[in-house]
């Protein structure tokens, strides 16, 4: 496939179209959607981690003035609705048997399996009445033993969560040639082992989840406004699989969505419940999650414990890598949750480094915790952490320089294209150049002075790097539809879902650039099952890669049609017509026609050749990605650690990313910096913590720390743009997740560098001040 580089639109830091709406308070988020006479719903959630529901008495609640409907698990069972399915791409055990998929009903039936699981739906005239009613519902629980940590869940004698999943195992997994890996280990001079934790975190978009459901009894059609990142696929699941109402009867729309990061990707119980309620009541029903409920019920991310081993020679040459992970799934499979610790974490094992052999194996157990599903990166942050931590740890153990170790083992550009031991098609890039550039921009000359200044204050300074390699994902197909409206506006509908990334701008920027149209004439639609036939939504850094390619493809088709219209007018063959800067022209003649002329001509048959119909420039096309792209880059980080308190200040941050073509650098850097903040949060402060009885201890913003402005360093973001990929029409590789893939290992490496004189070479995330202090104290104690 030839790389097509647009003449315009690419490389412009177009300011965002959506910003005026957001900045003036006119965004329309889910809580701003109101339907006349709507009722309000709230969900009664389980206070128990694992318990049998002996009985539920709703009589008092139902009698409360203003209560309209209460739905319990027994009611749900009688509806005949199906469970929410799981769509993980990995579905079989290593031995070929099927993964264990327990039934995930929208309401708990007979037994609860995590704190926060929906037990009943209450619908009332107001939210306050809902709360009053929930207090009056009496649920008789009989507690069962519970288990929240994945390592405990797979031990013999652990409480069993599902009869169908002996030992609590949903799925196991392997990738790579274990024999080759073992031989590499046997041949190598050293094998270094490190157990590490990818802590459990939650996406925490600033807008909590919510939805509004409406039902038209006349037509039998439903409408669901939903703060979701994945409108089309979730429509299909909700309508066709769960409620069995037929997807043509569910109009699914996302209004402005206040952040997602994967946490709004899956199919959740609550929207399904209120669709049911809307039908029962023949009234619109609105449900908005509290923030505290979000902590209990938004799918969580990461939560893997891994044993990572690297084999290397005395001269630092990497030989083999082996990772054994146990990834928590929570009480259910999630929408694609079981893919993260298995396939998702396996593909990028080894990063951009040469190995003779890599082997990855994982177990994915159920626990009595909220289900896990993709959170920004979903497997790639884990993989990057594995390789980039084990390199620094091995360097410390063997007295080697972690920067030299990386330098020595990076895959050289002349080895590309190649298939990695994990099966990734790495087509292009220049890892050594990206790495050296990362070091170059990170002000190494000034480092000694900064160390000195830190020491003078009693502080320890450290420097850490990471060379990440990741891959895109998400739905492989995307639709872009262009309709030229009578009022001169151009409607662009794309099946991607922007939850803050700026698609409304960048897709329009591409269309305007390709066709030579004015940005202000473009009207953007997304996240609406009426706007496009298909839509892959948001996930896997696919927005430009697949969505932007679809816009490009549709633009090219429009130009081809336009050429025919121009050829018809000028009475020449279409292949004589060229298109440039919004004009069709025939070289060597005075024949020119603007795109606007062509558009204005398209509805009159007299203006069209025989093979074109009126409206022929209104085109929709579907782009399908063949092979996923490989974003890669270097992160470098400087930290200052207060050894007395363990406090860490991230004091400098430098990134060089290879995202292929950069369409809008301003937006790309926004993605990178936001990703770094989330990576810094995971590395230093964020932690979803369940106690032994299965209660969520970090259940509000009082206990779950998010990075604030004064926690963040100044970041310098640069790009390597000399290796656009040919896997899509734009040459882009995907930018959305890279920041949080590179940041955790870079930050932890920097901290361990700062603490090396104490003999501290690893601390598990999050690196809270107390953990750092304890590590220093313990290291001093053991001398």
């Amino acid at each position: 496939m030839a790389t097509y580089v647009a003449r315009n639109g690419i490389g412009e830091n177009q300011r965002r179209v959506e910003d005026v709406r957001f900045l003036t308070g006119h965004g329309k988020y889910i809580d701003d959607v109101n339907i006349e006479n709507q009722a309000y719903a709230m969900v009664l959630r389980s206070p128990e981690a694992h318990a049998d529901i002996k009985s539920i008495d709703v009589s008092e609640a139902a009698a409360l003035d203003g209560v309209l409907l209460i739905v319990t698990g027994d009611d749900w069972k009688s509806t005949g609705y199906d469970p929410i399915p799981t769509k993980s791409a990995v579905r079989t055990f290593i031995d070929g048997s099927d993964m264990k998929v327990p039934p995930h009903h929208a309401l708990a039936i007979d037994r609860v399996r995590y704190v926060g699981q929906p037990v009943a739906l209450v619908v009332a005239e107001t939210q306050d009445i809902c709360r009053d009613a929930m207090e009056l519902i009496e649920v008789d629980y009989e507690s069962l033993p519970s288990v929240t940590h994945q390592s405990e869940a797979i031990k013999e004698g652990a409480p069993q969560i599902w009869d169908i999943a002996p030992g609590n195992v949903c799925l196991d997994f392997e990738l790579g040639d274990e024999e080759v890996q073992k031989k590499a280990f046997a041949d190598a001079d050293h094998v270094i082992t490190l157990n590490m934790v990818n802590n459990r975190v939650t996406a925490t978009p600033m807008e909590p989840r919510g939805a509004v459901a409406d039902f038209d009894p006349e037509t039998g059609k439903f409408t669901l406004w939903n703060s979701s990142q994945n409108i089309h696929a979730n429509r299909d699941t909700i309508a066709d699989v769960v409620l069995k109402i037929g997807k043509e009867n569910l109009h699914h729309i996302a209004p402005d969505v206040g952040g997602g990061f994967g946490g709004k990707n899956g199919v959740y119980p609550e929207p399904i419940l209120i669709l049911h309620a809307a039908k029962e009541l023949k009234r619109a029903v609105k449900w908005i999650n509290d923030r505290s409920e979000s902590f209990l019920s938004d799918t969580h991310g990461r939560d893997q414990v891994s044993k990572v081993q690297i084999a290397l020679d005395n001269d630092g040459t990497f030989r083999g890598l082996r990772t054994e992970s146990v990834g928590n799934l929570g009480a259910f499979c999630g929408t694609v949750g079981s893919f993260t610790p298995t396939g998702g974490s396996s593909r990028t094992q080894g990063g951009p480094f040469k190995f003779d052999g890599i082997y990855y194996t994982a177990i994915a157990p159920f626990t009595n915790t909220c289900p896990l599903d993709p959170y920004r990166g979903a497997g790639r942050p884990e993989g990057s952490y594995h390789i980039d931590r084990i390199i620094d740890y091995a360097a410390a153990q063997l007295g080697m320089d972690p920067i030299e170790l990386r330098r020595k083992n990076l895959i050289p550009p002349e080895a590309l294209p190649m298939k990695s031991p994990m099966g990734l098609d790495i087509d292009c890039g220049n890892f050594p150049e990206v790495f050296e550039e990362t070091i170059r921009i990170s002000d190494r000359e000034g480092y000694a002075k900064r160390v000195e200044a830190s020491e003078a204050k009693g502080m320890k300074r450290g420097f850490g790097v990471c060379m990440y390699l990741e891959c895109t994902g998400g739905g492989p197909k995307e639709e872009a539809k262009v309709t030229f409206l009578d009022n001169g506006k151009v409607e662009l509908s794309v099946g991607t879902a922007s939850t803050g990334m700026g698609h409304e701008t960048v897709h329009a920027q591409l269309l305007a650039g390709h066709l030579g149209l004015a940005m202000e004439d473009i009207v953007f639609r997304q996240s609406d099952t009426d706007a496009t036939e298909i839509g892959g939504g948001h996930g896997g850094s696919r927005g430009l890669e697949v969505g932007g390619s679809a816009v490009t493809q549709t633009s090219r088709q429009i130009i081809e049609v336009g050429k025919k219209i121009a050829a018809h007018r000028f009475d020449v063959d279409a292949d004589k017509v060229e298109f440039e800067d919004g004009r069709f022209h025939v070289p060597g003649t005075n024949h020119t026609m603007t795109i606007r002329d062509a558009i204005d001509s398209q509805n009159d048959p007299d203006n069209l050749p025989d093979d074109l119909e009126p409206g022929c420039m209104n085109i929709s096309s579907v782009f399908e990605r063949g092979i996923i792209s490989i974003p890669n880059g270097g992160h470098a980080c400087e930290v200052e650690v207060d050894p007395e308190t363990g406090t860490i200040k991230v004091d400098g941050y430098w990134v060089v990313d290879d995202f292929g073509t950069i369409v809008n650098e301003m937006l790309a850097s926004g993605q990178v910096m936001g990703g770094i903040a989330q990576g810094l949060g995971q590395a230093l402060m964020e932690d979803i913590y369940y106690d032994e009885s299965g209660q969520l201890v970090t259940g509000s913003l009082m206990d779950y720390a998010l990075p604030r402005a004064d926690d963040m360093p100044r970041m310098v973001i640069a790009y390597y743009e000399d290796a656009p990929t040919e896997k899509n029409l734009l040459g882009v590789k995907g930018a959305g997740e890279a920041g949080c893939v590179g940041a955790p290992p870079a930050i932890v490496n920097a901290v361990c560098d700062a603490l090396k004189e104490y003999g501290v070479h690893h601390i598990d995330m999050p690196l809270t001040p107390e953990k750092v202090w304890k590590a220093i104290r313990d290291a001093k104690a053991t001398g």
Partner: protein
Amino acid sequence: MYDFGIKNPTSIDDVKAALGDAEDGQFLAGGQTLIPVLKQRLAMPSDLISLSRVDGLSGITAGGDSISIKAMTRHAEVAANADIKSAIPALAKLAGGIGDPHVRNRGTIGGSVANNDPAADYPAAVLGLGATVITNEREIDADNFFTGMFDTALNEGELITEISFPIPEAVGYIKFPNPATRYALVGVMVAKFGNTVRVAVTGAGPCVFRVPEMEQALTASFSPDSIKDGLVPADDLNNDIHASREYRAHLIGVLARRAVAEANG
């Protein structure tokens, strides 16, 4: 939130009457703690008696050897007050480090002190500076005021009207903030008055407390080096997901030394 009645008294006498009329009335000062608590249905007062419109409950008066702060004075006003900044700089700093700017624009010194949250900053100042809590009934020494977790010497219906802080010779306050809430995980105030030194610790225990061992050591020599490790045993300190009791015990020593250094300029 459960429903409740509202009372908006304009004088201290009216406050008493309003409270008497209520079945289970509760004062509402700045509301920065109480309103979130009500939202979570963790309290169920019959009535809220708002103090916002009570005459004469707000303002800062500097005297020769003390500064008096009326109960409804907002944290932001204390933080910005020129007299406090020059006479008791650590008090201004403490007020300027409570929560965040929005909390400081609403929260009041009286509300904070009456609530006696174990992680609040103000109790460290009141106890550390040996302030006098003045109510509509009497004056209470700081040493007799804080009686336990969320508990004070205030009688039912007794209202703090102002707090009088003696001006120290030297003072320092260092806080280790909880990363999520910015409350004090541990906060230490050290104040020197002639031959007397007071050290008060908040955040670390169920209630703000003094550390006599440190006070004695600092009375002998007011220097960071006087504070040895291990002066506060970990046994009775708070132990939660944010910090273990041993970490808190360690921090008390570190922060106390830094507070002394700050006091010494």
